[in-house]
Symmetry: C2
Subunit: 316 residues, 2 copies
């Protein structure tokens, strides 16, 4: 295969007419140019230069190859220009995978934020618990939104993935508007609620485990709740007065306004929400831009949801 640096030497020789002038123009010694052009002749299998004691000139084959060289070098320059022109531009597809409420909560703000980068496309998927990290590791997704009720996740950094904290999402009590606990003055006593109709997500869901941990902490065993897939569905049923539920606050991001939110008593259970990405994916402008949009959206969500948590009157 021909060598680009040698082709560039030949093209310059074609312009300058002597080995010495070529060497000077490109900053080599004449000896180096002579040797490299001889090497190009061996590569090409043709005599490219006709040499005498005092001068050298291109053969027909040499002239022909010099013309090709000009075209090839031009294409190389186009390629390099193209690369640097796009270096800072977010382009291509970014795949974000998220747990269901995360996907729903972040979708509107993400879409709005990324609209200003027309050269990139966002694919937002929902995935089951634990699948997000695996997909990022396998490059099946660029960013995963993960929730952690344990408080241990950032310790996973030795796996090489990068965790960006987005927000802290508390578990809250959702009751119908006409419920007695809709009044902020009424204290929340979990033990007194054990005869209420509870609704929860199916076993295996992280929020279900969190709710069970909460009630075990106050010595109350949750009666067999009505199980529904999707926290959004549960929220709608609470709004219709069917029952009560303990849900992550984020569920309220786009949820029904027909419910009242109450803080649950200590110990406060919260989950941390992170955006996880491979370092190599983070280095891409498109992924970097998406992470920034997620941070922005998280701040907006926090501002939006905070007023939905009325505080009890300060103690006298």
């Amino acid at each position: 295969m021909l060598d680009l640096r040698r082709l560039a030497l030949l093209a310059e020789f074609a312009r300058r007419g002597s080995i010495a002038a070529t060497a000077q123009a490109l900053g080599y010694s004449p000896s180096a140019v002579s040797q490299q052009l001889a090497a190009l002749e061996r590569e090409a299998g043709a005599a490219l230069l006709d040499r005498t004691a005092r001068s050298a000139e291109l053969t027909d084959a040499g002239r022909r190859l010099a013309r090709h060289a000009d075209r090839i070098l031009e294409l190389v320059e186009t390629a390099e220009s193209d690369l640097s022109a796009h270096a800072g531009t977010p382009t291509g597809r970014v795949v974000v995978t998220a747990f269901p409420t995360g996907a729903v909560a972040f979708a509107p703000a993400l879409a709005r934020s990324l609209r200003r980068h027309p050269a990139m496309t966002l694919q937002l998927r929902q995935s089951p618990p634990g699948a997000g990290l695996r997909q990022v590791r396998a490059a099946e997704a660029d960013i995963a939104l993960v929730d952690d009720w344990t408080g241990h996740l950032p310790g996973r950094e030795p796996d090489g993935l990068h965790y960006t904290p987005l927000l802290t999402d508390p578990l809250v009590l959702a009751v119908p508007r006409r419920h007695r606990l809709a009044d902020p003055a009424v204290p929340v006593d979990l033990a007194a609620l054990r005869d209420e109709p509870w609704m929860a997500a199916p076993r295996g869901e992280p929020s279900r485990a969190a709710v069970e941990r909460l009630l075990a902490g106050v010595g109350a065993t949750l009666p067999v709740p009505w199980e529904f897939e999707g926290l959004g569905t549960i929220l709608s049923l609470v709004a219709k007065g069917i029952g009560i539920a303990a849900l992550p606050l984020l569920t309220l991001a786009t949820g029904d306004r027909g419910v009242v939110i109450r803080d649950l008593p200590a110990p406060a259970l919260t989950r941390h929400i992170y955006a996880v990405a491979r370092p190599s994916a983070r280095a891409r402008p498109s992924t970097a831009v998406t992470l920034q949009a997620l941070r922005s959206a998280a701040q907006d969500l926090t501002s939006t949801l905070e007023p939905r948590r009325p505080r009890p009157p300060a103690l006298p």
Copy 2:
């Protein structure tokens, strides 16, 4: 500057989808491919691959560069094909320089012979004595026809030029048809001819020197001859009966048929005619073809001129 071998690796990676498959397809170890693609990333100043523990895939920049690479590699292949397609084809201009009678004698046969190579052009020039060799050395001409009356020229091979013997051209006596020496039975006695009106080329011409050497060898001093430029001119004057001349036989190639040729007595003076070329020029198909045409023409000339030298009757 990007490197073609690395671009070829990237293009192959784009087709095969893994470093291991690329390495196998191109006969490298995975380690070499990994390192060379990393080097290409440094050259290009962009992340071209997105790597995980078990796989690698192209980034947007990588895909973009791979497309450019395909185009560049295609142009390189075009260049190489073009070179080898023309490798055996005589093309371009060939410059032949010759002493005057040589140019005239060889021109018709040369023109005929080279007509079958339409992609090349022949330039046939006349040059003064000694200029041919210099022009070949300086690449101002590709082939020089030179004549040597000394018999020493082939010893000049240490100068790197290549000498191709074409023909041996004897010095002969040209007399008018009505001259007494037109009869082959009459012996040629140079001493008896000193009162004849001689014609010769000007001093400095090789044939002039040869004639003077001939007559000095028989103790005869040539009277101040009538000097004319061009042996062809002298031959025409002989045909008109103006005088006699000692000329190289080659002069008769296209000369006047109104003269009679006689051998001169021993010692026989001859000149050797060579085609001289640089080795690098000889390697070109067009020059090689021209040299072959010259050899052919020389044989034709020898066949044509030999019957113009009638032999004296064999001694009883």
